[in-house]
Symmetry: C2
Subunit: 164 residues, 2 copies
Amino acid sequence: MTATAAQTRPRKRSGNGTARPADADEIGLDALVGHAGYAVRRFQIWIFQDFIRTLGDVDIRPTQYSVLTVIGANPGLSQMAVAKRLGIERARLVHLLDSLEQRKYVKRVKSKADRRSHALHLTSQGETALAKFKRLAAEHERHVEDRIGKENREQLLRILAGFT
Amino acid sequence: MTATAAQTRPRKRSGNGTARPADADEIGLDALVGHAGYAVRRFQIWIFQDFIRTLGDVDIRPTQYSVLTVIGANPGLSQMAVAKRLGIERARLVHLLDSLEQRKYVKRVKSKADRRSHALHLTSQGETALAKFKRLAAEHERHVEDRIGKENREQLLRILAGFT
DNA sequence: TATTGTTATACTCTATAACTATA
DNA sequence: TATAGTTATAGAGTATAACAATA
């Protein structure tokens, strides 16, 4: 348990009494091993790196992908709605959309109902591009499956379903 | 599946033909639902926020906690060794240690064996403080358990054990 | 030549605050 | 007054490059 691990003594290294530094894989993590947050963080880094690599040719990062996907599935949403749904700061979404609009994937249409807000839509270019991004993202997902196993991936999605 | 979800049409909102904007919880995530990375990312944000809140009084963040824990369990490590083990850039570790050293939790001792490197140790203040941090971190871990369930947390740790 | 710690730069992301134009 | 979008700033975190001291 994490609580009792607090009393763990530093473990001996090498056992040969030399001053030789420990190899990376013989360094103990102590209490960290019992923390879900540590494992989740390391996994998340791995998974994002694979996503970025797999979608490297099309230069789309996870956050951009999530924005395009949500707009694609819910055309006409306001920026506030997208920001809230994805847990992104509305100030940050502004820049994300600037970039996606420059690349002609998204357009901001002035809403007639509420002239303060923009209705977000994919351009036809955006629709075509998103279809390709989704194919690449599915490929990335297969890498995840290869890494942790089909069953484990499904279990993971089930356990974390409440956070989406 | 994520692959077939690429063909999903935008789902109807409200079904009443009005221009009323969709509520946050009726906005579909489409392909995102099938991505482990999205769920993991949202979960990781939740878990870090709880960690930061739970250890708010002692002003220790997850990365600082991981550095202190590893030094505590492996006294005498070099900065390179700590950086490698935790997957932190060595340039970044410099600043983390500056702060932890200012707060008298850690000391850098010039290594006799290799005069380029520093041997890292907790101060006695640091040892005492870390014991307290570990108790608070264990409390945070119980929050995780409350949120996702004891079984699920253990399953998660098992699935992600390879990433630590 | 290579490595350790350091400094510096740039870019991403999170968290705020404040401004404008609307409502 | 409150909200949507915008601009700006500050602090984490990530990714590099370059430098001095040492190996």
